[in-house]
Symmetry: C2
Subunit: 376 residues, 2 copies
């Protein structure tokens, strides 16, 4: 995988670049729609391409491992062939999901024992097995198996957990180095910086992760309930250490504001369920600000959802019609809102890229955050 | 509204024609997708046009009256403007829905008192009011307010109910004759033949309905639980009386077999929730036969859903992927299956039309029914 930096912003740490994978290139900074079970909820694959202009999507290892399962994925020839998405895919390691199963998992040095949330069946994820699973899924970027500690979390636990993540990383790297991709395309392993909200742990972790010299690096364990300022501080601390010439991925973040601030701090890649999950609840991000489409004020507003954003969905359907669909819990409401919000997120990172290339990112960002986070 | 007959089949009563409305033409025989609350569930408007090739869709008066309500629909300029569907729309009269609310309605000469299934609020539908509502919705074809008796139903009740439907029809016709369309396009009223499964009542009703000399005529009260043979017999009896030069609409029917048999008996228009409702439950109609996509046998079948049908959805996605989506109750599963089944229904009536024009409809129909109703 090749990463080129085209431009850096003079007023911040923002950079515009290009990531080259065997499934095509990704212009950064980039937002990656989340396709948990091999589908971005409510969105057709052609809509991801044409309406949302997604360049890479995520798959969740935990969900794909349970359904459709490795046998089907292997027979299909990997996730790209299974779901028909021929651009890049990133898969997480399943760590975040199994740690969310609080009642039904047990962490050991070997790995994590857990019970499926679907049928209660017992499973063990070890770092090695998670690498093997991600070989079968076939993502272009695969994530190391880490422990994501909750927030708040005491220093002792965060430190212990970080060391476990580092030992697991060694096992992940070794497994990847001694196995081959199954479908002929390259898979890059991204290790994950942990350390909760403790700067010294974050420094230690970033140094360890950087020393692995992988194709790219990720920051995990943020946006788990801590104040945004804490998150930004951790990103700053970590990005001062992570190599500049490798892409940096901030996992599971966030609001449009979080993303623009993250870019200013030198992040290149983002993913979050917010645009799709909030869409299904009627919260729309628009080029004019945030709309709760369930509010009565939209019921007779027959103007398009967001003419400024362009695209079929945001210019064809009216706010009043979308409000009606949401009120009736019609599938089409979730579909429209999901496409709209994802298009907005891709537009957002595209605008950020333009302003990095133009050299005025920092000043644009402050204005954009103010406007885009306004509640209409 | 102008109806032309292009061809009649020598071996049956099937005819191929064209219905001209102010929102464009409809080639018959035609299937009309059901868009209950102003949306065909899970389907974008452009998908109705491009993937399904729908020529006319239905809206349900009962649902649209309750939500978004007449105030919003009037302000929007009618349903076409509200949901962005610029081809023809047919609205039912709400009769079928309010009679389904068994516990919460009361039938009188004046009309039907009922409680909303949403919030329990009390409403009265009279024939006049239902015409006014359909003026506000603005469908190109609007239906008379009728009583749809259940099956089975004793002769006395069926007779009484039929006479009530006839008296209500008179009031509908008078209301339509003394009011104007609200949005500048013509609205045609279709009266509805009732009479349950009693041939003499059906004859009486068909004669009365024919005597109204409206733009088209409908047959109601079928496909409510009676054997298919009873339904075909009633259609035969009624179609011998309904004028040949007017379109005939068989309401709420049915399976591919029902539709092909109905066409053979001289029906021109059909609607049914079956393709979309069954899609959401995993039942697919294909050019090779019927598939229950939830069956284990499809889990590793990576061939397209139905290459013979053509179109993005049916040729891009595999059976294995759709089975996976259905198993995970992913929105995209319902979306894919709904588009596929509706495309199939439009393909079905398109094939029927071709064979009517070719003059071999009757023999083609028998083979087609056999193949298309096979369970794969």
């Amino acid at each position: 995988m090749i990463f080129e930096i085209h431009s850096t912003d003079p007023g911040s740490f923002a950079r515009a670049g290009k990531l080259q994978t065997d499934h095509g290139e990704i212009l950064t900074p980039i937002f990656m729609p989340v396709g948990t079970a091999g589908t971005v909820k409510g969105v057709h694959q052609r809509e991801l391409l044409d309406d949302i202009e997604a360049q890479i999507i995520l798959g969740n290892t935990y969900h794909l491992y349970l359904r459709p399962g490795l046998d089907i994925l292997r027979k299909a020839g990997g996730l790209h062939k299974f779901n028909g998405w021929s651009k890049p895919i990133l898969t997480d390691s399943g760590g975040y999901q199994v740690f969310s199963l609080k009642e039904i998992r047990k962490i050991t040095e070997e790995g994590v024992y857990f019970n499926s949330h679907i049928d209660g069946s017992k499973h063990l994820f070890t770092p090695e097995y998670v690498m093997d699973i991600q070989r079968v899924i076939g993502g272009d970027i695969i994530m190391a198996f880490d422990e994501c500690p909750p927030y708040p979390c005491d220093y002792k636990y965060a430190e212990k957990s970080m060391h476990l993540t580092h030992r697991w990383l060694k096992r992940c790297v070794e497994r990847i180095q001694t196995t081959e991709p199954l479908y002929g395309h390259h898979q890059s392993l991204f290790p994950i910086v942990q350390g909760s909200v403790f700067p010294d742990l974050r420094v230690q972790s970033a140094e360890y992760i950087a020393s692995q010299e992988q194709d790219g690096n990720a920051i995990g364990g943020l946006s788990v309930g801590e104040p945004a300022e804490e998150m930004y501080k951790m990103i700053e601390v970590v990005n001062a250490i992570l190599p500049k010439d490798k892409p940096r991925y901030l996992m599971g973040v966030g609001t449009p504001e979080n993303i623009l601030e993250g870019i200013a701090l030198g992040i290149d890649m983002f993913d979050c369920v917010m645009p799709t999950r909030n869409a299904r609840n009627g919260m729309l991000f628009t080029t004019e600000g945030i709309i709760n489409i369930r509010n009565k004020k939209w019921e007779d507003d027959f103007t398009p959802i967001d003419p400024g954003l362009g695209g079929y969905v945001s210019t064809f359907y009216s706010k009043a019609y979308l409000k009606h669909l949401m009120k009736c819990q019609e599938l089409l409401g979730a579909q429209i809102a999901s496409i709209h919000n994802l298009r907005f997120y891709l537009w957002l990172v595209g605008e950020a890229r333009k302003h990095i290339l133009a050299g005025d990112y920092a000043s644009w960002k402050d204005q954009a955050v103010k406007k885009l986070m306004t509640r209409l």
